[in-house]
């Protein structure tokens, strides 16, 4: 690349950013957060933060408590942001492409009359309020598990008051501002929100610093509780608790925090709407500038329609015995199975005694019931689709309103499941406020993806009777369970696996759902044949899921077996299963052979040599990196490198692990990450370098934190090789060489150095 080119790129990005800042919604160009530059910036921040974390913090505090924490937080943040970015982009695009409908977005005008007459739920703005209600519910009810009955009552009361408080505050501000200011001036008011939000961040920072100085950071639930305590519902709870103990200063502090927290929350959601929905400020404008303006179609879609659908669907579901049996049969079978295994402790000792799995099971069963109803939400309309076309609302609003309705119903089912498991087992992480909040957000997301599946499974326009079956609900249950895995499991690896499973499946369902919606709206719409992000993440998710499943089964079959053997076996099984599924799916989807896509079969000796050479180079870099860590006196970190660990461990089964690491891992991971994910990323970022960086980043974050940077470099190298040779041979050999060198160094180095 020459300098002129780089300069041109920088200029272009800068112009886009300036245009965006100047004209906001007027600019048709991609916004900053949607640009590859943003992702690059994220990557940069990630690595700087990582280095700082390792370099500075680790010297001060015991590594054991910090290590999992650091990797979990950083990886989840980065992966989450990227995934969210992609998912929202895809989602927003598919829904706004045709008519620019915005009714699924958050804010709509609200008047004082509506507020007091209880017509709140008529408006989409009230979606926001109802989110807060649900959130508050969770906060309040989770309090039961952790505190006392009194605490619960206070929390419940506080949560409801908070909702009213927030709405009243918004309304008041809105009314005052519209009376005092001209519309043009009013628009500038929004600048206040980020300022307040900034203040909120400072508060947050101070609290975190406080925790750092006490050395109390190893506990994720503590942090989420603390995060929550500056959010509105948490604060009102705090206000009431402080009132009870007559600590008025604390009460004032809480109230101050409430305003800051609300601004933070609002700013965040508004920015999300702006960036991802591309029409956010228009909504903000209508919210602030023209309160009381009614949007006819939205109103109809949200009131009469929802009431009508609730009544109709519930009546139909309750009367259909076959359906009831289907919905409850499966969970009952699950519970019977659980009771049986619980009795026969010898066989399932390792599994059944872990309350996490029990909680997971309950969560899964409950969500199945809900999922079943949710998944069916569009099914009754399938044959009677003609009827929907006779209603005076556009089709998209109807479908979306219905989907939203069932998503909310599912979220409340999630609450029951969550409470049930919390009560039944009093398992400490379940009983924390933070997890509850994360859970509700997740359940909602799950619900939306469930609607995606439902849309996938039922094709209203098709004359073929595509019957809804339980398999859709099972996919759904997987999503719910993976979400639970993220927040119920204690070790960071399970969390990571869970989040990947969750993200992958959710995204895949989003995608499937949006295709199906497109198809309902336009019967001639054909889904794209190219591999998408959802596909590739779904593939990676399948890989992790099979791995988790097989390791659980292995643990149950031979509890005394060596963990190394288990690891290697489960890795091999998941690798084979996921690769097979991926290949079959690919063939079906693109109607072309897998060989064409992966370049397998055109193995050339040159590529093998190329692969080995580059593998050596990346391994050399990795070793150098580890040496630097050693020189910094971080021997413990060095030893945590999982490949090095293989060499150090005295376990007899290590040869199994070595086999998995040096042979199976390169093949499977290259197929999934290069063959699948890179092809998908290229759809979004056609430039090779950008898609490579994103791919390498994804590849890096699924590895242990200590090897993130070397793996990132390895990822860049193999991406380049794949793009140059159009063949997986070179990447596979590079990867294998890299891993072999690392294992060898793990075998030899400790003997040389210690």
């Amino acid at each position: 690349m020459n300098r002129r080119f780089i300069k041109a790129i920088i200029k272009l990005r800068w112009t886009i950013m300036l245009n965006y800042l100047r004209h906001g919604r007027k600019s048709k160009k991609r916004s900053f957060i949607q640009s590859p530059f943003f992702l690059f910036l994220m990557a940069l921040i990630y690595f700087v933060a990582l280095s700082l974390f390792f370099g500075l913090i680790f010297k001060r505090y015991p590594i054991d408590s910090l290590m999992p924490m650091a990797s979990v937080v950083l990886t989840i943040v980065v992966v989450g942001l990227i995934l969210f970015h992609i998912a929202m982009q895809e989602f927003a695009q598919s829904f706004t492409r045709n008519s620019g409908d915005t009714e699924f977005l958050l804010c709509q005008p609200l008047t004082a009359k509506d507020f007091f007459t209880g017509k709140l739920l008529e408006y989409s703005f009230a979606d926001f309020a109802s989110w807060v209600v649900v959130l508050a519910f969770f906060v309040a009810l989770t309090w039961i598990a952790s505190l006392s009955v009194l605490g619960f009552l206070l929390a419940l009361f506080g949560a409801f008051l908070t909702v009213i408080f927030i709405n009243a505050l918004l309304l008041l501000v809105e009314q005052i501002l519209t009376r005092l200011l001209k519309p043009a001036a009013l628009r500038n008011i929004r600048i206040l929100l980020p300022i307040l939000a900034g203040a909120g961040l400072v508060v947050l920072f101070i609290r975190f610093q406080d925790m750092f100085s006490k050395g109390n950071i190893g506990n994720l639930p503590t942090i989420s509780t603390d995060l929550l305590s500056i959010s509105p519902p948490g604060i009102l709870v705090g206000v009431f608790l402080n009132l009870g103990s007559k600590s008025y200063l604390g009460m004032l502090a809480n109230l101050g925090g409430a305003i800051l927290g609300t601004s933070l929350f609002l700013t965040f959601s508004l920015f999300l709407v702006e960036w991802f929905g591309r029409s956010g400020w228009r909504i903000v404008d209508s919210h602030l500038v023209a309160p009381g303006r009614t949007v006819e179609s939205i109103r109809i879609a949200n009131t009469g329609m929802l009431k009508g659908f609730v009544k109709k669907d519930l009546l139909m579901y309750l009367r259909d015995l076959k359906l009831l049996f289907k919905a409850f049969g499966m969970p009952i079978a699950f519970i019977v199975l659980y009771l049986l295994t619980n009795k026969n402790k010898k066989l399932f000792e390792n599994v059944s005694e872990q309350s996490a799995y029990t909680a997971l099971l309950i969560f899964g069963c409950m969500s199945y019931i809900a999922a079943f109803c949710c998944v069916r939400c569009l099914d009754p309309e399938r044959r009677a689709i003609w009827l929907l076309y006779t209603f005076p609302v556009n089709m998209k609003s109807i479908l979306w309103a219905k989907a939203k309705l069932w998503a909310i119903i599912l979220a409340s089912f999630g609450l029951v499941a969550y409470l049930g498991s919390a009560f039944a087992f009093r398992w400490p992480p379940l009983a924390t406020v933070g997890n509850g909040v994360f859970l509700v957000a997740g359940v909602f997301l799950v619900a939306v993806s469930g609607v995606g599946i439902s849309a996938l499974a039922s094709d209203p326009t098709s004359k073929k009777s595509t019957t809804i079956n339980s398999s859709a609900a099972i996919v759904f249950m997987l999503i719910a369970s993976s979400y639970a895995l993220v927040f119920l499991s204690e070790d960071w690896w399970s969390k990571l696996v869970g989040s990947f499973l969750f993200a992958g499946l959710t995204l895949a369902c989003f995608q499937a759902g949006s295709w199906r919606f497109q198809h309902i709206l336009d019967p001639e719409y054909r889904r794209p044949t190219k591999i998408s992000i959802g596909d590739s993440l779904g593939a990676i998710a399948i890989f992790f899921f099979v791995q988790v499943l097989s390791s659980i089964v292995l643990a149950a079959i031979s509890p005394d077996g060596a963990t190394g053997t288990h690891y290697a076996l489960s890795y091999a099984v998941s690798g084979v299963v996921s690769s097979t599924i991926v290949v079959l799916y690919y063939k079906k989807r693109t109607r072309s052979s897998f060989r064409v896509f992966a370049g397998i079969g055109k193995t050339r000796l040159k590529n093998v040599g190329l692969g080995i050479c580059w593998g050596g180079i990346s391994a050399a870099f990795a070793l150098l990196y580890l040496f630097v860590l050693l020189q910094m006196g971080l021997k413990e970190i060095f030893l945590q490198h999982n490949v090095v660990q293989v060499g150090v461990s005295a376990e007899a089964a290590k040869w199994w692990v070595i086999l998995a690491v040096t042979v199976i891992a390169p093949i499977v991971e290259e197929i999934l990450f290069r063959g699948f994910a890179l092809s998908a990323l290229k759809e979004y970022w056609p430039r090779g370098s950008t898609s490579s960086i994103v791919n390498a980043l994804l590849f890096a974050v699924v590895h242990p934190a200590v090897s993130t940077i070397p793996v990132f470099i390895l990822g860049l190298i193999v991406c380049r090789l794949y793009q140059r040779t159009r063949n997986l041979t070179a990447p596979i050999f590079t990867h294998a060489t890299h891993n072999t060198v690392m294992v060898l160094s793990g075998l030899l180095l400790p003997k040389v150095m210690w």
Binding site: S297, G308, M316, W386, L387, T390, F391
Partner: protein, 247 residues
């Protein structure tokens, strides 16, 4: 009034409706005739916004059926050829659901639902699940639904199929009454007897193309046979079209 201008719909290679242009005046009963698979249902589905036309456009009371669909639905009642209903809803509940969808007030609901049910002889069956209804009863219930919000325009696809002779007679009387009220009625049928007795004007569609349009009298003069029944006109027009195609 209903107006289509060169409306066209293709399904893959097949052209189901090929540039159909017609206009139906207010208060008119228009019959849309054609053999099976001629494109009647496809045209009606395009009018209802269920299918998007590949070319051309259609308006109802000067509202575009695609871009202004929600407004169109306020003034249009629709009866499909195969009225699938929700199985586990009672007849009354079905109409109540529809009323809520059309944002009818409580009074309107209580006023119209029993009225419509008794007019079509469904009063006794109103508490029965629709899954147990006969085909004719389903059709009647769907017709009740189409008339529930008092539409200006009524679009019906094969309205009399599956109805017994008595019900057909009732239906005819009812449609005449509606037309007298100034409502526009567009119905498709292949029962020529019905069209002859009921419609002011007919349009004949064959293989996606409109081969003839006008009152029975005009069509008769077109084929220069003063005593021809509608059936004869129909067969004649189709034969002429087929010969043209061959040539």
């Amino acid at each position: 009034m209903i107006k289509t201008s060169s409306i066209t719909k293709r399904f893959g290679q097949k052209t189901a409706v090929n540039g159909v242009s017609l206009a139906v005046e207010k208060g008119e009963i228009f019959g849309f005739l054609g053999p099976n698979g001629a494109g009647k249902t496809t045209t009606i589905r395009m009018l209802m916004g269920i299918l998007r036309p590949n070319a051309g456009s259609a308006t109802i009371e000067n509202l575009d059926v695609t871009s202004e669909a929600p407004d169109v639905k306020k003034i249009v009642g629709y009866l499909p050829d195969e009225p699938y209903l929700y199985d586990y809803l009672r007849g009354r509940e079905f109409l109540e659901f529809l009323a809520e969808m059309h944002n009818l007030s409580q009074e309107e609901k209580q006023d119209r639902i029993p009225q419509l049910l008794s007019r079509f002889g469904l009063k006794d069956a109103s508490e029965e699940f629709t899954v147990n209804y006969s085909h004719g009863m389903k059709k009647k219930l769907a017709l009740c639904g189409a008339l529930l919000h008092d539409p200006q325009v009524l679009i019906m696809d094969e309205p009399t199929s599956g109805l017994d002779p008595l019900a057909v007679r009732d239906f005819r009387n009812y449609v005449n009454m509606l037309a007298a009220d100034g409502k526009t009625i567009f119905l498709s049928t292949h029962v020529l007897d019905l069209a002859e007795k009921l419609c002011n004007r007919v349009g004949i569609i064959h293989e996606g193309k409109l081969v003839g349009i006008g009152s029975a009298a005009t069509l008769r003069s077109d084929i220069a046979d003063r005593d021809a029944s509608l059936e004869e006109i129909f067969i004649n027009l189709i034969q002429v079209h087929n010969e043209k195609e061959k040539a």
